[in-house]
């Protein structure tokens, strides 16, 4: 048995438990892995809408005259590209070009930024921010314990959220809106981790249960359902999103992870830039590669991948893809020459299964109507 007494809980813990959620330990947080069924929840997000409690994620605010410069130095992506009302996906890098965390930076006003960080890395990121803020005119605040965060994801998310936040329909992808819900501050972003249209909403913990219940009751007629971490993982892997700590970490670079587009080497100096320039010059020795099973079976993290009969690496994330109806995974392979569609083998439950390399994402949503 796990020492559940030590696990942290979100504001929604009691409500979700009453709804029959199966709870698991996720990086020290007791969170729902599923409510009804991973497959059903996955399907609901692809075709209608799903609600996720992602309150375990952290929020670090940076405000002041130097905030933009400070974030520009910490981020691989170009923070100057976003103005008020816009967000950007980015990596925080260490000096070796490894990924400290993958984050979304939102600009809420001139010199006013919020960085949404992963749950397991909130403490590390907070220390990293504080260390690099020294001597700058900037005010940092770790608001992770203050905000609850819900993700509303799926093609019908827009219709459901607009009942509470009419302005959300005008938000472009990665648009950010600071508004009020139930008389309290709310931040609504058109972002997500599922590969579908959707929103992530941050509100103070005190109104988080109310927001959850409003969404659940309004979503019912749309076929929207509460979802757990299980569906979140199958959805994000199909969509090609990284899970920090599993697919990328301090020892792996964004280039190795295939996330070249989050690195802007043409912007002024940032932490990790030199290491990445060197990596680019010298070439990669390993690369995160997608694989898709050609036969039945479910690959799992840790499974070996063989190319031309030789072990080329291991899967770091792998699962059954409900949308494709087949096993999928990603792993760092030392064979950086493999184009998508190459035959490989994947170790599954003591046997070697036929598979092929695949381009990531495995799933792309149909072009939205709006």
């Amino acid at each position: 048995m796990t020492a559940t007494a030590e696990l942290r809980r979100t504001a929604l813990y009691n409500v979700q438990k009453e709804m029959g959620a199966k709870l698991v330990d996720f990086h020290g947080w007791e969170l729902p892995i599923q409510f009804s069924s991973i497959l059903k929840e996955h399907q609901a997000v692809r075709t209608a809408c799903g609600f996720f409690d992602v309150s375990h994620m952290g929020q670090i605010w940076a405000e002041g005259r130097d905030a933009a410069d400070f974030l520009q130095r910490l981020n691989s992506n170009d923070i100057r590209r976003i103005g008020p009302g816009k967000a950007i996906y980015s990596h925080l890098l260490n000096e070796r070009g490894g990924v400290v965390d993958d984050v979304i930076v939102s600009c809420l006003g001139p010199g006013r930024y919020m960085t949404v960080v992963n749950a397991a890395t909130t403490g590390k990121d907070w220390a990293w921010f504080q260390k690099h803020a020294r001597g700058r005119e900037i005010r940092l605040e770790n608001m992770s314990d203050f905000y609850g965060m819900l993700a509303v994801q799926g093609p019908l998310a827009r219709r459901i959220v607009s009942e509470l936040v009419p302005g959300c329909v005008k938000l472009p992808r990665f648009g950010v809106l600071e508004t009020e819900l139930f008389g309290r501050q709310a931040i609504v972003q058109r972002t997500g981790y599922t590969g579908e249209d959707g929103f992530e909403i941050m509100v103070p913990n005190e109104v988080c249960v109310r927001l959850w219940e409003e969404l659940i009751s309004r979503g019912r007629s749309y076929g929207a359902v509460p979802c757990g971490l299980g569906a979140r993982d199958t959805l994000r892997l199909e969509a090609g999103y990284l899970l920090y700590g599993q697919d990328v970490d301090d020892e792996h670079s964004p280039f190795e992870a295939g996330y070249d587009w989050v690195v802007k080497l043409d912007k002024p100096d940032f932490i990790g830039k030199q290491a990445l320039e060197r990596q680019k010059r010298e070439g990669l020795r390993r690369r995160l590669t997608g694989v898709k099973l050609s036969e039945k079976g479910v690959p799992r993290a840790g499974g070996a991948v063989y190319a031309d009969g030789r072990k080329a690496g291991e899967l770091c994330s792998a699962t059954f893809s409900p949308t494709l109806g087949t096993g999928i995974g990603v792993g760092y392979l030392d064979r950086t020459d493999l184009a998508p569609g190459r035959s490989v083998e994947v170790e599954i439950h003591g046997r070697r299964a036929a598979a092929e390399t695949a381009s990531v994402p495995f799933y792309k949503r149909p072009v939205a109507a709006d």
Partner: protein, 129 residues
């Protein structure tokens, strides 16, 4: 297929039921509820000789792979091709349409070593399972 109340159960959550000289095997409702979302079933080849407690099938869910152990020794007499084709049957109907395989038992008395329904319910309630 029989009502759960008439089956015998292994600690590894297989049910077994002797009918017409063969022992039908599946996983319990409790097990399917824990495993959830079965997406792949790997069944033994008919004719294979198995020993009681030997892993001879695999039930895979989105979450993990689970070995299924032969509850009695004998020879695999039949497998449920429908469950291999539509693994969700294991969730929907674990005691009926989602049965997995049948064993021609070497010694039907081996069934007596398994738990009856009441004892299995107690076993589930105990924290040890």
């Amino acid at each position: 297929m029989p009502a759960p109340e008439k089956c015998r159960f292994a600690k590894s959550h297989e049910w077994a039921y002797l009918d017409g000289g063969k022992v039908a095997v599946g996983i319990s409702d409790h097990a399917q509820n824990e495993i959830t979302d079965v997406v792949f079933v790997e069944l033994p080849k008919p004719g294979r000789r198995v020993k009681a407690g030997e892993a001879c099938a695999v039930v895979e869910s989105v979450k993990a792979a689970f070995d299924i152990y032969a509850p009695v020794s004998g020879e695999i007499a039949a497998v449920n091709a429908d469950a291999a084709k539509d693994p969700s049957l294991v969730n929907q109907s674990p005691h009926d349409k989602g049965w997995l395989f049948a064993v021609a038992p070497a010694d039907p008395k081996e069934l007596d070593a398994l738990m009856d329904y009441a004892r299995y319910q107690e076993f589930l309630k105990s924290a040890a399972h």
